[in-house]
């Protein structure tokens, strides 16, 4: 096992088309075929959207402060 880790790490193994169709390597194929992956994508995108809105609001508040200070001086 230790040896195979080493081999993966040290040699430059080019990725070929075979690597995309190699069904011997286990991937989350069931999850994808059931479409559940889109639920996951949806959840992550919603959270990202929420954080983005918050950051944009913060940015706007800073802009307002900048204006306020300019008018004052």
């Amino acid at each position: 096992m230790a040896f195979s880790f080493q081999a993966v790490a040290q040699e430059k193994i080019a990725i070929t088309e075979d690597d995309y169709s190699n069904s011997r390597v286990e991937m989350a194929d069931v999850m994808r075929s059931e479409g559940k992956i889109y639920v996951l994508v949806g959840v992550i995108v919603l959270i990202f959207a929420g954080i983005t809105v918050y950051v944009i609001n913060t940015d706007r508040k800073v802009s307002k402060l900048e204006k306020l200070i300019k008018e004052d001086s």
């Binding site: 195979s4 790490a9 430059k12 990725i15 995108v45 950051v55 944009i56 940015d59 800073v62």
Partner: protein, 226 residues
């Protein structure tokens, strides 16, 4: 929002990274399996960190040449964002390593190097906070920042390549590794680097503006008293 086109670009690129990073085909490789997708999240943190550190060094040099405190704002805030990315990079790297290399920390040269690098940047923050005079802080900070960057690059790019490392592309192999060079991975990887870096720049930008507002308010208060 001020100058918002690049902020919209940031959001767009990151949305693309999240969606395409999870959905597009990836090479099916043993040991890595689906975790290869961490390329778009873990590796990009380090790219973003380095790019922001370069920006910070540029502003440190600018400060030393002009003694304009505005350049120091940029240097410290870009370093702050870079450190955040570095911490996230090291934590995500540990999680990824646990399930591919078998342990959170294997004393890999690149892991050690980046940990030492982060400690140097923590020291930068402590050094700055220990100085009370604004210009002294900025000048000593700028000099330290330039030296820290000059030590950081060999620590994570040069030394790991001189010895055996678990990280791909190391142990004598310079340049990108095979995973990065795969054209389908690059389709998400490169936009992801730009997106995360822009997000860091955005965070730095907001905090630089807050710093300048704070300074103006302080100046005003001082002027009122006298």
């Amino acid at each position: 929002m001020r100058a918002s086109w690049w902020k919209i670009l940031t959001i767009g690129l990151l949305l693309y990274t999240l969606i395409a990073g999870l959905l597009l085909d990836v090479p099916r490789l043993p040991i890595l399996n689906e975790t290869i997708r961490a390329l778009h999240f873990h590796v990009t943190m380090w790219f973003g960190m380095i790019i922001m550190l370069v920006v910070a060094v540029v502003y440190s040099v600018k400060y030393l040449r002009t003694s304009d405190i505005k350049h120091d704002d940029m240097a410290i805030e870009f370093t702050n964002a870079a450190i955040l990315f570095g911490v996230l990079g090291i934590v995500t790297g540990m999680l990824w390593a646990k399930f591919t290399w078998g342990d959170y920390w294997s004393g890999d040269p690149k892991q050690n190097g980046s940990a030492i690098g982060l400690l140097m940047y923590f020291a930068y923050l402590i050094l700055r906070n220990s100085l009370t005079d604004v210009h002294q802080r900025a000048r000593i900070g700028a000099v330290y920042n330039i030296f820290a960057f000059a030590a950081f690059i060999p620590l994570i790019f040069v030394l790991p390549r001189l010895t055996d490392s678990l990280h791909p592309g190391n142990g004598g192999n310079p340049g990108f590794n095979a995973y990065d060079l795969d054209s389908k991975l690059r389709l998400v990887f490169y936009p992801a680097i730009i997106g995360w870096t822009l997000l860091g720049a955005w965070m730095a930008n907001v905090r630089v503006r807050l710093r300048r507002i704070e300074r103006k308010v302080e100046d005003k208060l001082i002027n009122q008293v006298s």
